[in-house]
Amino acid sequence: MRRFKEFLIEKIILLNGFACILFVILIFFFLAKDGLTLFKTVSPWHFLFGTLWNPLAEPPQVGILPLFLGSLIVTLGATVISVPLGMACAIFIGEIAPRWIRELLKAGVELLAAIPSIVIGFIGMTMLGPIVKNLFHLPTGLTALTGSLALAFMAIPTIVSIMEDAISSVPRSYKEGSLALGATHWQTIHRVIIPAASSGIVAAVMLGIGRVIGETMAVMMLTGNASVLPKTILEPVRTMTATIAAEMGETVRGSEHYFALFALGLVLFVITFFINLAADAALHQKQK
Protein backbone atom coordinates (compact mmCIF):
# COMPACT_ATOMS: atom_id res chain seq x y z
CA MET A 1 0.00 0.00 0.00
CA ARG A 2 2.70 2.38 1.06
CA ARG A 3 4.75 1.49 -1.94
CA PHE A 4 1.74 2.08 -4.19
CA LYS A 5 1.23 5.52 -2.64
CA GLU A 6 4.86 6.35 -3.19
CA PHE A 7 4.55 5.20 -6.79
CA LEU A 8 1.43 7.25 -7.35
CA ILE A 9 2.92 10.44 -5.96
CA GLU A 10 6.04 9.99 -8.02
CA LYS A 11 4.02 9.54 -11.20
CA ILE A 12 1.83 12.55 -10.47
CA ILE A 13 4.88 14.72 -10.03
CA LEU A 14 6.30 13.32 -13.25
CA LEU A 15 3.05 14.05 -15.03
CA ASN A 16 3.06 17.62 -13.80
CA GLY A 17 6.58 18.06 -15.03
CA PHE A 18 5.61 16.84 -18.47
CA ALA A 19 2.47 18.96 -18.42
CA CYS A 20 4.62 22.07 -18.10
CA ILE A 21 6.68 21.14 -21.12
CA LEU A 22 3.51 20.20 -22.98
CA PHE A 23 2.08 23.65 -22.28
CA VAL A 24 5.12 25.35 -23.72
CA ILE A 25 4.99 23.19 -26.80
CA LEU A 26 1.27 23.76 -27.23
CA ILE A 27 1.66 27.50 -26.87
CA PHE A 28 4.45 27.52 -29.36
CA PHE A 29 2.42 25.36 -31.70
CA PHE A 30 -0.63 27.63 -31.58
CA LEU A 31 1.45 30.73 -32.04
CA ALA A 32 3.37 29.20 -34.90
CA LYS A 33 0.24 27.87 -36.61
CA ASP A 34 -1.40 31.27 -36.92
CA GLY A 35 1.81 33.26 -37.02
CA LEU A 36 3.37 31.34 -39.89
CA THR A 37 0.18 31.61 -41.95
CA LEU A 38 1.21 35.21 -42.52
CA PHE A 39 4.17 34.12 -44.60
CA LYS A 40 1.87 32.69 -47.26
CA THR A 41 1.20 36.28 -48.31
CA VAL A 42 4.07 38.28 -46.85
CA SER A 43 7.73 37.41 -47.18
CA PRO A 44 9.60 36.92 -43.89
CA TRP A 45 12.10 39.49 -45.08
CA HIS A 46 9.44 42.15 -45.45
CA PHE A 47 7.94 41.17 -42.13
CA LEU A 48 11.18 41.31 -40.15
CA PHE A 49 12.89 44.22 -41.89
CA GLY A 50 10.03 46.25 -43.29
CA THR A 51 9.99 49.73 -41.83
CA LEU A 52 6.28 50.46 -42.20
CA TRP A 53 3.64 49.08 -39.85
CA ASN A 54 0.28 49.88 -41.41
CA PRO A 55 -1.85 46.78 -40.97
CA LEU A 56 -5.04 48.62 -41.91
CA ALA A 57 -3.72 49.66 -45.33
CA GLU A 58 -4.66 47.84 -48.53
CA PRO A 59 -2.61 45.72 -48.86
CA PRO A 60 -1.49 45.67 -45.22
CA GLN A 61 2.07 46.78 -44.52
CA VAL A 62 3.39 44.66 -41.68
CA GLY A 63 7.07 45.56 -41.29
CA ILE A 64 7.93 45.03 -37.62
CA LEU A 65 11.36 46.65 -37.61
CA PRO A 66 10.10 49.85 -35.92
CA LEU A 67 8.25 47.78 -33.32
CA PHE A 68 11.23 45.53 -32.68
CA LEU A 69 13.56 48.51 -32.29
CA GLY A 70 10.94 50.21 -30.12
CA SER A 71 10.89 47.24 -27.75
CA LEU A 72 14.66 47.06 -27.84
CA ILE A 73 15.25 50.71 -26.98
CA VAL A 74 12.68 50.71 -24.17
CA THR A 75 14.08 47.49 -22.73
CA LEU A 76 17.68 48.66 -22.97
CA GLY A 77 16.77 51.95 -21.34
CA ALA A 78 14.94 50.23 -18.52
CA THR A 79 17.82 47.81 -17.99
CA VAL A 80 20.41 50.55 -17.88
CA ILE A 81 18.34 52.38 -15.29
CA SER A 82 17.14 49.49 -13.17
CA VAL A 83 20.21 47.26 -12.93
CA PRO A 84 22.59 49.70 -11.20
CA LEU A 85 19.78 51.03 -9.01
CA GLY A 86 18.53 47.58 -8.13
CA MET A 87 22.03 46.33 -7.47
CA ALA A 88 22.86 49.23 -5.20
CA CYS A 89 19.59 48.71 -3.38
CA ALA A 90 20.19 44.96 -3.02
CA ILE A 91 23.70 45.53 -1.67
CA PHE A 92 22.44 48.12 0.74
CA ILE A 93 19.66 45.87 1.99
CA GLY A 94 21.78 42.75 2.11
CA GLU A 95 25.04 44.10 3.44
CA ILE A 96 24.98 47.60 4.79
CA ALA A 97 21.63 48.62 6.21
CA PRO A 98 20.94 48.17 9.94
CA ARG A 99 18.26 45.59 10.61
CA TRP A 100 15.28 47.92 11.01
CA ILE A 101 16.04 49.82 7.82
CA ARG A 102 16.53 46.50 6.07
CA GLU A 103 13.07 45.29 7.10
CA LEU A 104 11.55 48.62 6.10
CA LEU A 105 13.22 48.58 2.69
CA LYS A 106 12.31 44.98 2.00
CA ALA A 107 8.68 45.73 2.77
CA GLY A 108 8.88 48.79 0.55
CA VAL A 109 10.35 46.87 -2.36
CA GLU A 110 7.71 44.16 -2.01
CA LEU A 111 5.05 46.84 -2.01
CA LEU A 112 6.53 48.28 -5.19
CA ALA A 113 6.22 44.84 -6.77
CA ALA A 114 2.56 44.72 -5.82
CA ILE A 115 1.64 47.92 -7.67
CA PRO A 116 -0.34 46.99 -10.78
CA SER A 117 1.37 48.05 -13.98
CA ILE A 118 -1.60 50.15 -15.01
CA VAL A 119 -1.15 52.25 -11.87
CA ILE A 120 2.50 52.77 -12.71
CA GLY A 121 1.40 53.69 -16.22
CA PHE A 122 -1.09 56.15 -14.82
CA ILE A 123 1.41 57.77 -12.50
CA GLY A 124 3.91 57.81 -15.35
CA MET A 125 1.43 59.58 -17.59
CA THR A 126 0.51 62.26 -15.11
CA MET A 127 3.88 62.82 -13.41
CA LEU A 128 6.74 61.30 -15.37
CA GLY A 129 5.61 62.42 -18.84
CA PRO A 130 5.48 66.14 -18.01
CA ILE A 131 8.84 65.91 -16.20
CA VAL A 132 10.53 64.28 -19.20
CA LYS A 133 8.85 66.75 -21.56
CA ASN A 134 9.97 69.82 -19.62
CA LEU A 135 13.42 68.50 -18.74
CA PHE A 136 14.39 67.88 -22.36
CA HIS A 137 12.12 70.54 -23.96
CA LEU A 138 10.27 67.95 -26.03
CA PRO A 139 6.97 68.38 -27.87
CA THR A 140 5.59 65.42 -25.90
CA GLY A 141 6.45 63.53 -22.73
CA LEU A 142 5.33 60.23 -24.24
CA THR A 143 8.73 58.86 -25.21
CA ALA A 144 10.81 55.69 -25.01
CA LEU A 145 12.59 57.20 -22.00
CA THR A 146 9.32 57.69 -20.11
CA GLY A 147 8.47 54.05 -20.78
CA SER A 148 11.94 52.96 -19.71
CA LEU A 149 11.69 54.85 -16.44
CA ALA A 150 8.32 53.32 -15.58
CA LEU A 151 9.51 49.84 -16.57
CA ALA A 152 12.61 50.31 -14.47
CA PHE A 153 10.29 50.81 -11.50
CA MET A 154 8.64 47.52 -12.32
CA ALA A 155 11.88 45.63 -12.84
CA ILE A 156 13.54 46.93 -9.69
CA PRO A 157 11.54 44.82 -7.21
CA THR A 158 12.34 41.65 -9.20
CA ILE A 159 15.99 42.58 -9.46
CA VAL A 160 16.34 43.66 -5.84
CA SER A 161 14.63 40.68 -4.27
CA ILE A 162 16.52 38.07 -6.30
CA MET A 163 19.86 39.86 -5.97
CA GLU A 164 19.31 40.37 -2.28
CA ASP A 165 18.64 36.65 -1.89
CA ALA A 166 21.82 35.88 -3.81
CA ILE A 167 23.86 38.30 -1.73
CA SER A 168 22.44 37.12 1.59
CA SER A 169 23.12 33.51 0.70
CA VAL A 170 26.84 34.14 0.23
CA PRO A 171 28.40 32.17 3.10
CA ARG A 172 29.17 34.34 6.09
CA SER A 173 32.60 32.78 6.18
CA TYR A 174 33.53 34.45 2.86
CA LYS A 175 32.74 37.80 4.33
CA GLU A 176 34.56 37.09 7.58
CA GLY A 177 37.48 35.55 5.74
CA SER A 178 37.88 38.69 3.70
CA LEU A 179 37.43 41.03 6.66
CA ALA A 180 39.85 39.02 8.74
CA LEU A 181 42.48 39.70 6.09
CA GLY A 182 42.07 43.39 6.72
CA ALA A 183 39.91 44.16 3.69
CA THR A 184 37.45 47.00 4.16
CA HIS A 185 33.73 46.42 4.03
CA TRP A 186 33.47 47.84 0.52
CA GLN A 187 36.44 45.81 -0.71
CA THR A 188 34.75 42.73 0.69
CA ILE A 189 31.47 43.51 -1.07
CA HIS A 190 33.19 44.35 -4.32
CA ARG A 191 35.78 41.58 -4.45
CA VAL A 192 34.16 38.68 -2.65
CA ILE A 193 30.44 39.01 -2.14
CA ILE A 194 29.47 40.23 -5.61
CA PRO A 195 31.62 37.66 -7.44
CA ALA A 196 30.33 34.90 -5.17
CA ALA A 197 26.75 35.96 -5.83
CA SER A 198 27.32 36.57 -9.52
CA SER A 199 25.14 33.75 -10.84
CA GLY A 200 22.21 35.00 -8.79
CA ILE A 201 22.94 38.53 -9.94
CA VAL A 202 22.90 37.49 -13.59
CA ALA A 203 19.64 35.62 -13.00
CA ALA A 204 18.17 38.71 -11.37
CA VAL A 205 19.13 40.89 -14.31
CA MET A 206 17.73 38.40 -16.80
CA LEU A 207 14.46 38.05 -14.95
CA GLY A 208 14.29 41.83 -14.74
CA ILE A 209 14.75 42.08 -18.50
CA GLY A 210 12.15 39.36 -18.95
CA ARG A 211 9.71 41.36 -16.89
CA VAL A 212 10.45 44.50 -18.88
CA ILE A 213 10.22 43.05 -22.36
CA GLY A 214 6.89 41.40 -21.69
CA GLU A 215 5.30 44.38 -20.00
CA THR A 216 2.42 45.84 -21.96
CA MET A 217 0.06 48.13 -20.14
CA ALA A 218 2.48 50.77 -18.92
CA VAL A 219 4.41 51.00 -22.18
CA MET A 220 1.17 51.35 -24.09
CA MET A 221 0.24 54.30 -21.92
CA LEU A 222 3.65 55.96 -21.87
CA THR A 223 5.62 55.48 -25.05
CA GLY A 224 3.30 57.25 -27.50
CA ASN A 225 3.02 54.15 -29.74
CA ALA A 226 4.25 55.85 -32.89
CA SER A 227 5.61 53.19 -35.22
CA VAL A 228 8.67 55.13 -36.37
CA LEU A 229 12.25 53.91 -36.44
CA PRO A 230 13.59 55.40 -33.20
CA LYS A 231 16.69 57.54 -33.49
CA THR A 232 16.97 58.60 -29.85
CA ILE A 233 15.42 57.51 -26.58
CA LEU A 234 13.62 60.83 -26.43
CA GLU A 235 11.22 59.96 -29.24
CA PRO A 236 7.89 58.17 -29.12
CA VAL A 237 8.19 54.48 -29.99
CA ARG A 238 5.81 51.57 -30.42
CA THR A 239 6.66 48.28 -28.76
CA MET A 240 5.70 44.80 -29.88
CA THR A 241 3.65 44.05 -26.79
CA ALA A 242 1.72 47.30 -26.96
CA THR A 243 1.00 46.65 -30.63
CA ILE A 244 -0.50 43.25 -29.94
CA ALA A 245 -2.52 44.54 -27.00
CA ALA A 246 -3.77 47.59 -28.86
CA GLU A 247 -4.70 45.92 -32.12
CA MET A 248 -5.89 42.42 -31.24
CA GLY A 249 -9.27 43.59 -30.02
CA GLU A 250 -10.20 45.24 -33.27
CA THR A 251 -8.64 43.05 -35.90
CA VAL A 252 -10.74 40.97 -38.24
CA ARG A 253 -10.20 37.28 -37.51
CA GLY A 254 -8.38 35.47 -40.24
CA SER A 255 -7.11 38.67 -41.84
CA GLU A 256 -3.51 39.35 -42.66
CA HIS A 257 -3.45 41.80 -39.78
CA TYR A 258 -4.59 39.06 -37.40
CA PHE A 259 -1.88 36.67 -38.58
CA ALA A 260 0.71 39.45 -38.42
CA LEU A 261 -0.09 39.95 -34.73
CA PHE A 262 0.38 36.25 -34.11
CA ALA A 263 3.67 36.34 -35.98
CA LEU A 264 4.64 39.26 -33.77
CA GLY A 265 3.75 37.15 -30.75
CA LEU A 266 5.94 34.41 -32.16
CA VAL A 267 8.84 36.84 -32.44
CA LEU A 268 8.33 37.86 -28.81
CA PHE A 269 8.22 34.24 -27.76
CA VAL A 270 11.47 33.51 -29.56
CA ILE A 271 13.16 36.55 -27.99
CA THR A 272 12.07 35.59 -24.48
CA PHE A 273 13.20 32.06 -25.14
CA PHE A 274 16.69 33.22 -26.08
CA ILE A 275 16.94 35.58 -23.11
CA ASN A 276 16.19 32.68 -20.81
CA LEU A 277 18.59 30.47 -22.69
CA ALA A 278 21.30 33.11 -22.24
CA ALA A 279 20.52 33.32 -18.53
CA ASP A 280 20.75 29.54 -18.23
CA ALA A 281 24.03 29.50 -20.08
CA ALA A 282 25.41 32.23 -17.81
CA LEU A 283 24.36 30.31 -14.71
CA HIS A 284 25.98 27.08 -15.89
CA GLN A 285 29.13 28.90 -16.88
CA LYS A 286 29.44 30.14 -13.31
CA GLN A 287 28.87 26.75 -11.78
CA LYS A 288 31.87 25.24 -13.53
Partner: protein, 289 residues
Protein backbone atom coordinates in the same frame (compact mmCIF):
# COMPACT_ATOMS: atom_id res chain seq x y z
CA UNK B 1 14.31 29.72 -15.76
CA UNK B 2 12.42 27.18 -17.80
CA UNK B 3 9.34 27.68 -15.69
CA UNK B 4 9.65 31.38 -16.24
CA UNK B 5 9.51 30.94 -19.99
CA UNK B 6 6.54 28.77 -19.59
CA UNK B 7 4.64 31.01 -17.24
CA UNK B 8 5.42 34.08 -19.33
CA UNK B 9 4.36 32.62 -22.58
CA UNK B 10 1.36 30.96 -21.05
CA UNK B 11 0.09 34.22 -19.59
CA UNK B 12 0.91 35.97 -22.81
CA UNK B 13 -1.09 33.44 -24.74
CA UNK B 14 -4.02 33.64 -22.38
CA UNK B 15 -3.75 37.39 -22.67
CA UNK B 16 -4.35 37.34 -26.40
CA UNK B 17 -6.74 34.41 -26.36
CA UNK B 18 -9.25 35.69 -23.84
CA UNK B 19 -10.30 38.82 -25.72
CA UNK B 20 -10.85 36.64 -28.78
CA UNK B 21 -13.07 34.02 -27.31
CA UNK B 22 -15.05 36.50 -25.27
CA UNK B 23 -17.35 35.75 -22.42
CA UNK B 24 -19.54 32.71 -22.60
CA UNK B 25 -23.14 33.79 -22.72
CA UNK B 26 -25.03 32.93 -19.60
CA UNK B 27 -28.45 31.50 -20.16
CA UNK B 28 -31.50 33.69 -19.70
CA UNK B 29 -29.59 36.92 -20.02
CA UNK B 30 -28.65 39.22 -22.87
CA UNK B 31 -24.96 39.57 -23.52
CA UNK B 32 -23.87 42.87 -25.04
CA UNK B 33 -20.29 43.22 -26.11
CA UNK B 34 -18.06 45.44 -28.19
CA UNK B 35 -16.98 49.01 -28.69
CA UNK B 36 -15.24 50.63 -25.76
CA UNK B 37 -16.68 53.98 -26.84
CA UNK B 38 -20.13 52.60 -26.26
CA UNK B 39 -19.63 50.62 -23.03
CA UNK B 40 -20.89 53.36 -20.74
CA UNK B 41 -23.78 54.18 -23.00
CA UNK B 42 -24.76 50.52 -23.25
CA UNK B 43 -24.50 50.20 -19.48
CA UNK B 44 -26.74 53.22 -18.95
CA UNK B 45 -29.35 51.81 -21.30
CA UNK B 46 -29.14 48.40 -19.66
CA UNK B 47 -29.59 49.78 -16.15
CA UNK B 48 -32.61 51.82 -17.11
CA UNK B 49 -34.11 48.94 -19.07
CA UNK B 50 -33.60 46.45 -16.24
CA UNK B 51 -35.21 48.89 -13.80
CA UNK B 52 -38.34 48.70 -15.94
CA UNK B 53 -38.14 45.01 -16.85
CA UNK B 54 -36.84 43.20 -13.79
CA UNK B 55 -37.18 39.74 -15.37
CA UNK B 56 -34.52 40.48 -18.00
CA UNK B 57 -30.86 40.73 -17.15
CA UNK B 58 -28.28 42.36 -19.40
CA UNK B 59 -24.50 42.21 -19.21
CA UNK B 60 -22.47 44.84 -21.03
CA UNK B 61 -18.76 44.42 -21.70
CA UNK B 62 -16.21 46.25 -23.83
CA UNK B 63 -13.13 44.99 -25.64
CA UNK B 64 -13.46 46.81 -28.94
CA UNK B 65 -15.83 46.72 -31.88
CA UNK B 66 -13.95 43.85 -33.50
CA UNK B 67 -14.12 41.80 -30.32
CA UNK B 68 -17.85 42.33 -30.17
CA UNK B 69 -18.37 41.37 -33.81
CA UNK B 70 -16.18 38.27 -33.40
CA UNK B 71 -18.22 37.30 -30.34
CA UNK B 72 -21.43 37.76 -32.30
CA UNK B 73 -20.13 35.50 -35.05
CA UNK B 74 -19.04 32.91 -32.47
CA UNK B 75 -22.45 33.10 -30.86
CA UNK B 76 -21.13 34.21 -27.48
CA UNK B 77 -23.08 37.47 -27.41
CA UNK B 78 -26.54 38.60 -28.44
CA UNK B 79 -25.81 42.16 -29.39
CA UNK B 80 -22.51 43.51 -30.67
CA UNK B 81 -21.91 47.18 -30.09
CA UNK B 82 -19.78 48.72 -32.82
CA UNK B 83 -18.49 52.17 -33.57
CA UNK B 84 -17.58 51.12 -37.11
CA UNK B 85 -19.28 49.19 -39.90
CA UNK B 86 -18.77 45.48 -40.17
CA UNK B 87 -16.06 44.68 -42.71
CA UNK B 88 -16.91 42.58 -45.81
CA UNK B 89 -14.72 39.79 -44.41
CA UNK B 90 -16.77 39.79 -41.22
CA UNK B 91 -20.05 39.71 -43.15
CA UNK B 92 -18.71 36.69 -44.97
CA UNK B 93 -17.68 34.91 -41.77
CA UNK B 94 -21.09 35.64 -40.28
CA UNK B 95 -22.82 34.20 -43.31
CA UNK B 96 -20.61 31.12 -43.15
CA UNK B 97 -21.58 30.59 -39.52
CA UNK B 98 -25.22 30.73 -40.55
CA UNK B 99 -26.08 34.12 -39.09
CA UNK B 100 -28.44 36.63 -40.61
CA UNK B 101 -26.87 39.76 -39.18
CA UNK B 102 -29.01 42.86 -38.72
CA UNK B 103 -27.58 46.33 -38.25
CA UNK B 104 -29.21 49.12 -36.19
CA UNK B 105 -28.08 52.69 -35.87
CA UNK B 106 -28.63 53.59 -32.20
CA UNK B 107 -26.85 56.93 -31.67
CA UNK B 108 -24.36 59.33 -33.22
CA UNK B 109 -20.91 60.22 -32.02
CA UNK B 110 -19.49 63.53 -33.18
CA UNK B 111 -15.70 63.75 -33.22
CA UNK B 112 -14.13 67.04 -32.30
CA UNK B 113 -10.67 67.97 -33.56
CA UNK B 114 -8.85 69.50 -30.61
CA UNK B 115 -5.68 71.57 -30.17
CA UNK B 116 -3.95 73.37 -27.31
CA UNK B 117 -5.90 76.48 -26.15
CA UNK B 118 -2.94 78.70 -27.10
CA UNK B 119 -2.96 77.46 -30.70
CA UNK B 120 -4.09 80.29 -33.05
CA UNK B 121 -5.48 77.90 -35.68
CA UNK B 122 -9.30 78.14 -35.62
CA UNK B 123 -10.43 76.11 -38.61
CA UNK B 124 -9.22 73.28 -40.83
CA UNK B 125 -10.53 71.73 -44.02
CA UNK B 126 -10.62 67.96 -44.56
CA UNK B 127 -7.73 68.37 -46.99
CA UNK B 128 -5.66 70.04 -44.30
CA UNK B 129 -6.67 67.49 -41.65
CA UNK B 130 -5.82 64.67 -44.02
CA UNK B 131 -2.46 66.29 -44.75
CA UNK B 132 -1.68 66.68 -41.06
CA UNK B 133 -2.64 63.14 -40.07
CA UNK B 134 -0.93 61.48 -43.00
CA UNK B 135 2.27 63.43 -42.38
CA UNK B 136 2.23 65.56 -45.55
CA UNK B 137 1.77 68.72 -43.50
CA UNK B 138 4.28 68.74 -40.66
CA UNK B 139 4.42 72.36 -39.54
CA UNK B 140 1.66 74.48 -38.07
CA UNK B 141 2.69 77.43 -40.27
CA UNK B 142 1.46 75.50 -43.32
CA UNK B 143 -2.11 75.84 -42.01
CA UNK B 144 -1.88 79.35 -40.61
CA UNK B 145 -0.31 78.66 -37.25
CA UNK B 146 3.03 79.27 -35.56
CA UNK B 147 6.31 77.94 -36.93
CA UNK B 148 6.22 74.72 -34.94
CA UNK B 149 6.28 71.02 -35.71
CA UNK B 150 2.88 69.38 -35.41
CA UNK B 151 2.50 66.63 -32.81
CA UNK B 152 -0.17 64.32 -34.22
CA UNK B 153 -2.24 62.25 -31.79
CA UNK B 154 -4.64 59.46 -32.63
CA UNK B 155 -6.50 56.67 -30.88
CA UNK B 156 -4.89 53.29 -31.41
CA UNK B 157 -6.01 50.80 -34.05
CA UNK B 158 -8.28 48.94 -31.66
CA UNK B 159 -10.57 51.93 -31.63
CA UNK B 160 -13.53 52.29 -33.96
CA UNK B 161 -12.83 56.01 -33.74
CA UNK B 162 -9.40 55.44 -35.28
CA UNK B 163 -10.93 53.58 -38.22
CA UNK B 164 -13.74 56.08 -38.69
CA UNK B 165 -11.37 59.04 -38.71
CA UNK B 166 -9.08 57.20 -41.13
CA UNK B 167 -11.85 56.38 -43.57
CA UNK B 168 -13.87 59.57 -43.39
CA UNK B 169 -11.29 62.28 -42.78
CA UNK B 170 -7.87 60.99 -43.91
CA UNK B 171 -9.37 59.24 -46.92
CA UNK B 172 -12.16 61.83 -47.23
CA UNK B 173 -14.88 59.22 -47.47
CA UNK B 174 -13.09 56.91 -49.91
CA UNK B 175 -12.93 53.95 -47.50
CA UNK B 176 -10.35 52.02 -49.46
CA UNK B 177 -8.14 55.00 -50.21
CA UNK B 178 -4.34 54.80 -49.97
CA UNK B 179 -3.99 57.33 -47.14
CA UNK B 180 -2.49 56.16 -43.85
CA UNK B 181 -1.75 57.72 -40.52
CA UNK B 182 1.84 58.98 -40.59
CA UNK B 183 4.22 56.58 -38.78
CA UNK B 184 5.12 59.39 -36.39
CA UNK B 185 1.51 59.63 -35.19
CA UNK B 186 1.24 58.92 -31.49
CA UNK B 187 -1.29 56.16 -30.94
CA UNK B 188 -2.80 56.68 -27.51
CA UNK B 189 -4.76 54.01 -25.70
CA UNK B 190 -7.63 56.20 -24.52
CA UNK B 191 -9.50 59.36 -25.35
CA UNK B 192 -8.61 60.75 -21.94
CA UNK B 193 -4.93 60.30 -22.82
CA UNK B 194 -5.46 62.43 -25.93
CA UNK B 195 -7.16 65.17 -23.89
CA UNK B 196 -4.32 65.10 -21.34
CA UNK B 197 -1.64 65.24 -24.00
CA UNK B 198 -3.30 68.02 -26.00
CA UNK B 199 -3.80 70.10 -22.87
CA UNK B 200 -0.09 69.78 -22.03
CA UNK B 201 1.49 70.17 -25.43
CA UNK B 202 1.04 73.40 -27.40
CA UNK B 203 1.90 71.76 -30.73
CA UNK B 204 -0.50 68.82 -30.45
CA UNK B 205 -3.60 67.98 -32.47
CA UNK B 206 -5.98 65.11 -31.85
CA UNK B 207 -9.57 64.01 -32.19
CA UNK B 208 -11.97 63.00 -29.40
CA UNK B 209 -15.63 62.21 -28.92
CA UNK B 210 -17.68 65.34 -28.33
CA UNK B 211 -18.46 64.31 -24.76
CA UNK B 212 -14.80 64.45 -23.79
CA UNK B 213 -14.21 68.06 -24.85
CA UNK B 214 -13.20 70.17 -21.84
CA UNK B 215 -12.00 73.77 -21.32
CA UNK B 216 -8.43 72.42 -21.18
CA UNK B 217 -8.47 72.01 -24.97
CA UNK B 218 -9.72 74.06 -27.92
CA UNK B 219 -11.98 72.62 -30.63
CA UNK B 220 -11.31 73.46 -34.25
CA UNK B 221 -14.06 74.19 -36.76
CA UNK B 222 -14.01 71.73 -39.64
CA UNK B 223 -15.14 71.86 -43.24
CA UNK B 224 -15.48 69.10 -45.77
CA UNK B 225 -14.98 71.51 -48.68
CA UNK B 226 -12.02 73.79 -49.20
CA UNK B 227 -13.20 77.29 -48.34
CA UNK B 228 -15.89 76.30 -45.90
CA UNK B 229 -18.37 76.56 -44.47
CA UNK B 230 -16.48 75.81 -41.23
CA UNK B 231 -18.59 74.40 -38.43
CA UNK B 232 -17.68 74.11 -34.75
CA UNK B 233 -18.54 70.70 -33.30
CA UNK B 234 -21.71 70.70 -31.20
CA UNK B 235 -24.64 68.42 -30.55
CA UNK B 236 -26.94 70.67 -32.51
CA UNK B 237 -24.59 70.81 -35.46
CA UNK B 238 -24.21 67.04 -35.41
CA UNK B 239 -27.97 66.52 -35.24
CA UNK B 240 -28.76 68.78 -38.19
CA UNK B 241 -25.81 67.19 -40.04
CA UNK B 242 -23.98 70.46 -40.70
CA UNK B 243 -20.96 69.21 -38.71
CA UNK B 244 -19.05 66.85 -41.00
CA UNK B 245 -17.24 64.50 -38.59
CA UNK B 246 -20.00 62.46 -37.02
CA UNK B 247 -20.34 58.71 -37.11
CA UNK B 248 -23.16 56.35 -36.34
CA UNK B 249 -22.96 54.05 -33.34
CA UNK B 250 -24.33 50.63 -34.19
CA UNK B 251 -25.90 47.52 -32.75
CA UNK B 252 -25.56 44.23 -34.59
CA UNK B 253 -27.71 41.20 -33.87
CA UNK B 254 -27.18 37.70 -35.26
CA UNK B 255 -30.81 37.27 -36.27
CA UNK B 256 -33.81 39.52 -36.61
CA UNK B 257 -34.31 40.63 -33.02
CA UNK B 258 -37.12 38.99 -31.06
CA UNK B 259 -38.27 38.70 -27.49
CA UNK B 260 -36.28 40.61 -24.92
CA UNK B 261 -33.60 41.59 -27.42
CA UNK B 262 -36.27 43.30 -29.48
CA UNK B 263 -37.75 44.92 -26.38
CA UNK B 264 -34.36 46.30 -25.48
CA UNK B 265 -33.74 47.58 -28.98
CA UNK B 266 -37.12 49.29 -29.02
CA UNK B 267 -36.31 50.87 -25.71
CA UNK B 268 -32.96 52.14 -27.00
CA UNK B 269 -34.62 53.74 -30.00
CA UNK B 270 -37.46 55.20 -27.94
CA UNK B 271 -37.55 58.83 -26.82
CA UNK B 272 -36.43 57.74 -23.36
CA UNK B 273 -33.54 55.74 -24.76
CA UNK B 274 -32.41 58.67 -26.86
CA UNK B 275 -32.60 60.94 -23.81
CA UNK B 276 -30.06 58.69 -22.18
CA UNK B 277 -27.86 59.13 -25.25
CA UNK B 278 -27.87 62.83 -24.61
CA UNK B 279 -27.09 62.54 -20.90
CA UNK B 280 -24.12 60.33 -21.83
CA UNK B 281 -22.76 63.14 -24.03
CA UNK B 282 -23.43 61.46 -27.33
CA UNK B 283 -25.68 62.79 -30.05
CA UNK B 284 -29.21 61.37 -30.27
CA UNK B 285 -30.45 60.11 -33.62
CA UNK B 286 -32.89 62.98 -34.01
CA UNK B 287 -35.92 62.67 -36.23
CA UNK B 288 -36.47 59.40 -38.02
CA UNK B 289 -34.92 59.54 -41.43
Amino acid sequence: MKTKVMVCSFLFFIGILVPLTGAIAAEGSIQIKGSDTMVNLGQAWAEEFMAENSQVSLAVTGGGSGTGIAALINGTCDIAEASRDMKPQEWEQAKKSGHDVHEFKVAVDALAVVVHPSNPVKELTFDQLSGIFTGKIINWNEVGGKDQKILVLSRDRNSGTHVYFLEHVLRKGNEKGPEQYAPATLMLPSTQAIIDEVSQSDSAIGYVGLGYVSPKVKTVAASKMNGGPFVQPSKAAAMDKTYPIARPLLFYTAQAPQGSVKAFLDFVLSAKGQEIVETMDFVPLGKKE
